[in-house]
Amino acid sequence: MRHEIQLVGKGGQGVRLASSILSRACGIYDGKNLVETHLYGAAARGGLSESELVISGEEIYYVKVQNPDFLVALSQDAYDEYGAAVKDDGMIIADEFYVKNYNAEDKRLAMFPLTRTALDVVGALIAVNVVTLGVLSALDPELSPESVRSAIKDLVAGKYLDKNLEAFDKGLELGESK
């Protein structure tokens, strides 16, 4: 089955690294087929940053996400621009720090204190991507939290690793509490 995940935020929130971690988790540790693509503008910071993952046990032809099973929205723009395409039975994981205007009756929507948790646990905004991976790993049955953890260990540099794993575990807790 084709499974689609879309991660959207602003440049500097670590969207690209988060998607690389997911690719490694699914493609290397879980041995699935996947395609990871990106969309970005010419701005180095602050512009829209979007990553897409298509995961499947079968061959993947079309490389882009069409109707995501999971959308992570780390900014208001991300929610506004990409929310509509999410499947009816899909899920939108939104950061309550940045996403202020939303449809509270949307059954697909789940608000989480992603940035707040990153600040509390690591003391740095940049850890929001790993908190998010924790939440996503807890909620998306296609992902194995252990594989994601292994991929984090591979891709996050030594001195930041412990804090990142802590942030990931906190994210897992947040996700499991839903």
């Binding site: 690389s20 690719s23 490694r24 493609g27 290397i28 087929n33 996947l34 395609v35 990871e36 693509t37 990106h38 969309l39 970005y40 503008g41 010419a42 032809y61 079309y62 490389v63 882009k64 069409q66």
Partner: protein, 375 residues
Amino acid sequence: MAKRKIISGNHAVAEAAIKAGCRFFAGYPITPSSEIAEKLSEVLPKYGGRFIQMEDELASMGAVIGASLTGAKVLTATSGPGFSLKQENLGFAIMAEIPVVVVNVQRGGPSTGLPTFTSQQDLMQARWGRHGDQEIIVLMPDSVQETYDLTIRAFNLAEKYRTPVILLSDEVISHMSEPVDIPDEVEIVDRAKPDVPPEEYYPFDSSKGLVPPLAPYGTGYRYHITGLNHDKTGFPSNDPEIVHNQMLRKLNKIRKNTDDIVEVEEFKLKGAKYAIFALGSVGRTAKQTVINLRKEGVPIGVFRPKTLWPFPEKEIIELGKKVEKIFVIELNYGQIIGEVERWVSKYTEVEWYGRATGRLIPPREIGAFIKEKIE
């Protein structure tokens, strides 16, 4: 045992270049090709190679030509505006028959266009971007794995036919990541060396066949290289017969070897009544469209040249004789349609759909277009 890795299309170019024996890169960074240079700047020195960031694309094309003449396998990579700047020296390499591999990662154009977004607007520039009659080899991958494989093939063809080869990627293929199997062993072709001593050597000696051996500079073989028409010694000649014969040899080394050079993918074409003609990243969309349409009972397949130039004339004529309609889908405003029509309009109908907005055209849109045309 092949090693499974997840890498981007651009990193696949870099890894494959090393594997193919490339030991020299000169370039000037430009989105969306920059990761090729970035990776090779890190990796090439570890293999005893050289990486040079030149002052611009003109100079970097010149640098790879010079390095190739010393016997090195060479690469340069660029995109859109940079590809335009490389054309003049690329023409020189074609005329002087110097093996080089040029990667052009297509982005939106013309001019600076859409730097971070995809297109397929350089299909004809790759073929005819230089002045003068010439043949050129252009390969187009549709996945990261195929980017790896075709990069190696590009080096092999460049060395075998003593000619520039262009790997024509696009922003989607170059920036996307997929698992690839990195093989332990690949077939490597090295250029033919002279079988005569320096005093008997001629760099453009047609009696040595369509591809005369190229002696590496610095090994005792002294010869002249010029962009002017030349005789077998490499010195300029205006003699009509010499010009004619040398031109024919340069053209025929490609034209008479299309069976070796041309590769196409045929996807679910057996018994198909319709075909989609697609290149590069559009090939992936076309295959998804075919999967979707076949579920609705439409007998359709995909014809995808991996070798864009020389154009797969024989193969597309065969296709034209078999199907009732060919749908040409392009990320541009109508380029390769003309070439397809040139070969098949005698046998079948051709329909065109495309645009270049920086985004891929989704399968459902292509499917809707096709259904409208066959109802």
